[in-house]
Subunit: 198 residues, 2 copies
Amino acid sequence: MTMSRIQKRNRARIAEAALEVFSRNGFRGATLDAIAGEAGLSKPNLIYYYPSKETIYEELLTGLLSRWLEPLTALDPAGEPEAEILGYVSRKLDLSRQMPRESRLFANEILRGAPLIAPHLTGPLHRLVAEKAAVIEGWAAAGRIAPVDGRQLIMSIWALTQHYVDADVQVRAVTGMADPLAGAAAHLETLFRRTLRG
Amino acid sequence: MTMSRIQKRNRARIAEAALEVFSRNGFRGATLDAIAGEAGLSKPNLIYYYPSKETIYEELLTGLLSRWLEPLTALDPAGEPEAEILGYVSRKLDLSRQMPRESRLFANEILRGAPLIAPHLTGPLHRLVAEKAAVIEGWAAAGRIAPVDGRQLIMSIWALTQHYVDADVQVRAVTGMADPLAGAAAHLETLFRRTLRG
DNA sequence: TGACAAATTGACCGTATGGTCAAAAAGACG
DNA sequence: CGTCTTTTTGACCATACGGTCAATTTGTCA
């Protein structure tokens, strides 16, 4: 079941094209023609590699999931609490900044009610968050940071870091800044630092 | 140009149906048939009231805009800074909670790059935010709250309050709570209180 | 009630879209 | 080169969708 040279090349092209098109137009707004065009293939050729539009979308999403959670996974229970959490915020913001298409892709999926990745949310993601939330609350119980609900804190971080990318137009329009992400980093650091110090 | 009894009733039905369908499926995912069905009208009858799908969507969005910004408008320069800002957070969260469809509708529009309300973002919204951000920064300069970027603070409030509604599925799955909004209020209050006290 | 306007609808149209299929072109390999 | 497999494509299909239109029904009001 080893992939041929051509298979490898075309599957990569398709993944890239699908990311582009799906993130820009959402699942329903994306068309096979658009993806095929972006990938430089004909529509039947596209369907030769993936049996359906949904399959392309699904494989794209699930393939990106683990990568998307890396920053949280890296939160180290043995580290210094404030540095760990602020480091997480910073890594998550960088990730969103560097992968805006992926960010939008997930935002879209979740806005739609996560029809495809719901199982993942209640399974692996739930467990990961529970684990890291426990770490954070352990720190809080030990008095190393101010008391805080770990799960809520993690979700705040998601909400804020993604907002700058997903609501890009709004952020830009309201701030009038060309690159609002710059100010964002500083703001989020003070916001969370103060939250952790109580 | 006064509206007949029937006009009034049907336009109201359509607005309600359109809100339901657009917020659940996004602009592209919504169909005239679905809206007509939800409103209890036939498709041609729907089009008798609104010339096109886009018109329905546009009127719906613009009609809701001012209402959506009420909480921020109500932020009082003469009030007590911390109470004003925390009050704003609370009002915004309540608004999202009580009008989840509207929240999703806007989230969707903005995720898509705000093709329709972009002018409003750079116009009235920009001005409103500038005004209120100045108020906040005035308070900060006077030492009544900790130093903070007003615009960034306002955007944080948007990002967080909307997240609980827009990413509802995710929040539910991750927390495992049936009504995550309850915990949200408490969390946001401590988060912003600490931010304002530095 | 009659006459005019407002409201409603079934049938229809053009286009877009997800997907199929048989046949042709390009690669792999002895 | 010749044979077999993989890849590619033009033509095609069924369905969904936004929207039109002529004709009918319903409401208004003198």
